[in-house]
């Protein structure tokens, strides 16, 4: 089984009181019973003047009762709004022939609280978006209380991200509202989070959430930066397919999309593909946009996590064999001396 997606983690929501018949989604969807549905999403991380614009699309299809997703963010966003209608498709067109369209639909609910700080709540089409801040346990607890299904690797993955940035964006799809909005299978909702940050790292490990280690992950990652970035992946499987000055045609097209007027005249386009077994995707992508800077190893997710502590035995090496050995050695030496002297005396006494 292969999963083709980008930069979004999808966790399912238990069968709330929402109509069925819409489900499946782009990204790493987890069904209510814990099964994974394979889907596709494309994401753009654009960094300009110290602000990251994170654009992704939630596209739903399939059967489950309700689905949702949680995306780790590098910092607190100032806004989350509907993204341009075709920005992601235009980027895909720039680097390859149009990919086969996927078909989707979905659902969800909204709700409660926990020991997390709710930073922002908004509705975009049929999506209920919540940006929250907290530790891995607290965010997980909040997700459970709000009807998300968390697979068994979720506690470790949430802790992995919370140790670097406590900010997460949760999205749930309201199937009933989707129907009221006339959204059907295959329709998608692009969103754009505007995030002032010094660390525009890109979450990659999240793509493996809930997957069996042998499952393949395929993902498309687009980066737009003011200058050619230095990139550092924390593991194998992520390759740069294109690294070039973005064409004026691309930038002009992107700028004309809704919410994309910030796109400047000159940017650098990087296009990366991820193709790896889920078990190997235990890292992120660090990005240095300052020409004099280096990508952070910690931002690649391999800092403390990759260090295998080497500890001495709990109580140190036992000390008692040493004095015993010395004592035995002294005893052997003493015995030798005594025996030698006895032999000497014996020799003298002999006539």
């Amino acid at each position: 089984m292969r999963r083709r997606t980008a930069l979004a983690i999808f966790l399912s929501v238990p069968a709330a009181a929402l109509a069925p018949s819409v489900a499946d989604a782009c990204g790493g969807l987890v069904g209510e019973n814990g099964t994974i549905q394979l889907v596709r999403t494309t994401t753009l991380a654009a960094y300009h003047d110290g602000v990251e614009r994170y654009v992704t699309s939630f596209e739903f299809t399939g059967e489950g009762e309700s689905v949702g997703s949680i995306v780790p963010l590098p910092d607190v966003p100032t806004s989350v709004e509907r993204g341009g209608d075709w920005t992601l498709q235009r980027l895909a067109l720039e680097v390859a022939p149009p990919p086969p369209s996927s078909d989707d639909a979905a659902e969800a609910t909204a709700a409660a609280s926990a020991e997390v700080q709710i930073i922002l709540e908004t509705q975009i089409d049929a999506l209920d978006i919540t940006v929250l801040s907290g530790g891995g346990d607290e965010v997980g607890q909040w997700a459970l209380e709000n009807g998300f299904f968390l697979p068994p690797d979720a506690p470790e993955v949430l802790d992995f991200y919370a140790s670097r940035s406590p900010v997460f964006m949760a999205a749930k799809f309201d199937a009933q509202r989707a129907r009221e909005l006339g959204q059907g299978a295959g329709d998608s909702t692009p969103i754009m989070a505007t995030i002032p940050t010094d660390d525009p790292w890109v979450p990659v490990r999240i793509l493996g959430l809930g997957l069996d280690g042998s499952q393949r992950i395929e993902a498309d990652v687009f980066l737009l930066t003011d200058a050619r970035p230095e990139l550092l992946a924390g593991g194998p499987g992520l390759t740069v397919q294109r690294s070039e000055a973005a064409s004026s045609g691309l930038l002009t097209d992107l700028r004309s999309d809704v919410g994309m007027e910030w796109v400047p005249n000159d940017m650098w386009l990087s296009y990366l593909q991820l193709d790896a077994a889920a078990a190997d995707v235990d890292y992120d992508l660090a990005v240095a946009v300052d020409p004099a800077g280096e990508p952070s190893i910690a931002d690649a997710g391999v800092g403390p996590a990759a260090i295998v502590p080497v500890r001495p035995p709990a109580d140190g090496a036992p000390w008692w064999p040493i004095p015993i050995g010395v004592a035995v050695g002294v005893a052997v030496l003493g015995a030798w001396v005594v025996i030698a002297r006895h032999r000497q005396q014996t020799t003298r006494v002999a006539p």
Partner: protein
């Protein structure tokens, strides 16, 4: 040269004794502790969907009181028992388990207690059978041994 022989002999014998002692000590550290036969309490932490510790060794007839601390934000369970018990839970639909010996459900950041008596020698499995948890690695073993 002849005078050095006793000194060398002393060093060799002393070193052999010291090294033997170190090897013996290392062997002691590696040997698992056998619990029982008196009733014992074992604290099992659950973190990142793993049992800590995940292996135990007990003497036949030992009653073990498992105190399970769930440090994860998700539900877990600890099931200990024979293969048919595990098969029942693997295929079952019981969301929460009533207080049966060796069967325990623990919510996020909660703890629970269950007691199980190991009457037969062999290996008894410990597992969480919530969807995906066993395959993720949430399992362990209790080695039940006869002590002469």
């Amino acid at each position: 040269m002849k005078r050095l022989v006793p000194v060398i002999a002393a060093i060799v014998v002393g070193s052999a004794v010291a090294l033997g002692g170190l090897a013996l000590a290392a062997g002691d550290e590696a040997a698992p502790v056998t619990l029982g036969p008196d009733p014992v309490t074992v604290v099992v932490d659950v973190e990142h969907s793993r049992f800590i510790p995940s292996t135990l060794r007990v003497e036949v007839g030992t009653e073990v009181r498992f105190v399970v601390h769930n440090d994860d934000p998700i539900n877990h369970e600890l099931i200990v028992g024979t293969p048919d018990v595990h098969a029942r839970h693997r295929n079952g639909t019981e969301a929460k388990h009533p207080p049966r010996p060796g069967e325990l459900s623990v919510g996020p950041d909660e703890h629970g207690v269950t007691t199980y008596r190991f009457d037969e020698p062999g290996v008894v499995e410990i597992a969480c059978h919530l969807p995906g948890h066993y395959d993720y690695g949430m399992r362990g073993e209790v080695e039940v041994v006869e002590v002469p």
